[in-house]
Amino acid sequence: MKRARLLRVSGYVASVLGGLTLFVGFLHTKAGRPLLARLGVGCPVKASPADVEVARLSSARALRGVEAAASRPALGFALDSMTLSDVKAWAAKHDLNCDELRTGLMRCTDVPVTAFGDRETGAPVDQLDFGFAPATEHLVNISAWRHGMSGVAAAAQMGSIVSAMQQQLGAPTRQAGDRTADYLASGPMHTAIVEYRFTDYIADVSATNIPGRGLLLREHYMSARD
């Protein structure tokens, strides 16, 4: 009698546990995750390098132009063909301070412009980010940041970069703002931007006066190929 009761109770407990388990399982399905989110619980999903690449590609597809680029200048690097190994070799050759922060992202700091070629002049790049497509390890994205520049230095650097790009690519697709030292230095958020948009290549060069940080100069070169 006692045993039968124990079995019956065990059966009830098992049923309840089973039901709860099924419910928890359901919460982690595609249909159940909204409810899980409402309960304030996250389904553990890792943002992999592949996801960052998906985000980059969505950006590139939205921003790219309608004609192919005659060339794709990118600080001397070859987009879509150079690999992580190539960039590492370049960094080693110039004895640079670089780290692979995560798969698909390598960062170098305090890079002298001579590392980009003998003809380059100007201020060192404070932060140089290289993005690689995780599937191929091909270089697809470069961001070069210079921080805390004076108006004179930023205007000169930007002028030099834009001049070189114009020689290779012609007139910019879009540009806005005044690239003079006086304008850039004279107010917060004063910005000059030059953009090139092609089906296979996107490049932005911009300078912005960030309150408390001085002028930031950004060079961004990105493959726009699928």
Binding site: S10, V24, A37, P44, V45, V52, S143, S206, I210, R218
Partner: protein
């Protein structure tokens, strides 16, 4: 005894089914990333691009024709920042374009990527856009309320709460502001208005930036490995 065995067999099956279901569901996110994430972003980018192309309505524009049209220094006597930015639709388009351009930066994209993975994860890119639009619209003098509930039912959070788990560094924050400023400049928003908008962003810096975090990303903290309740943008699940 037979009943006992049957029930425990059911329990075992249920446990296996439940765990398997959970693992499969979470594990399947990578497979569905392209679908959910891409389509969501494509829709957003398309809207942003359309807004940017129509310079009259997107965040000001060159001699705009529909209420916005700030143009450089183009603020009229009766205009407000809100109308110069193109009112709700103009602000929404500009926010969409800002998010699109931010995703081109590998550092900043790492903070957004978890939100783009699966359509059921919160906040989605569209939620982030709506939250930012409401935040900026409210700050610009529009009728938008912030915090608010997005169309999908997501409740935007305060800046500090939404970003606390992300441990964003000051360098990443400044880069975000710079890219956003470039989008507005490119849309021919006047310097004064860009400064005002940037002030809205930089005014939140102290609540968003973790001074103990590295100045620059990428995001490598746990929150960036959680899609639904953690990462990204202007809001999170409540």
């Amino acid at each position: 005894m037979e009943v006992y065995v049957t029930k425990w067999s059911c329990l075992t099956l249920a446990l296996l089914a439940g765990v398997g279901c959970a693992v499969a569901a979470c594990g399947s996110d990578d497979d569905t990333t392209g679908g959910g994430g891409t389509s969501g972003m494509a829709a957003m980018a398309g809207k942003a691009a359309a807004g940017a192309a129509g310079k009259g309505t997107a965040a000001g524009g060159e001699g705009g024709t529909t209420g916005g049209g700030a143009g450089e220094g183009g603020s009229g006597g009766e205009s407000t920042l809100y109308t110069r930015l193109g009112s709700h639709d103009g602000i929404a388009a500009a926010i969409g374009l800002i998010v699109t351009k931010e995703l081109g930066d590998p550092d900043i994209a790492s903070y957004f990527a978890p939100n783009l993975q699966v359509a059921s994860h919160k906040p989605q890119a569209a939620d982030i856009e709506e939250c930012f639009t409401a935040l900026l619209g409210h700050a610009a003098g529009g009728s938008e309320m912030y915090p608010m509930t997005t169309k999908s039912g997501f409740v935007c959070r305060g800046m500090a709460e939404a970003h606390s788990d992300l441990h964003i560094g000051s360098g990443t924050f400044d880069h975000f502001v710079m890219i956003a400023g470039g989008v507005l400049k490119d849309a021919h928003v006047s310097d004064d208005d860009i400064t005002t908008v940037a002030g809205v962003l930089t005014g939140t810096k102290s609540t968003i930036v973790d001074n103990a975090a590295p100045a620059n990303g990428p995001c490598i903290v746990k929150a960036c490995e959680v899609g639904e309740a953690g990462a990204g943008g202007a809001g999170g699940s409540k």
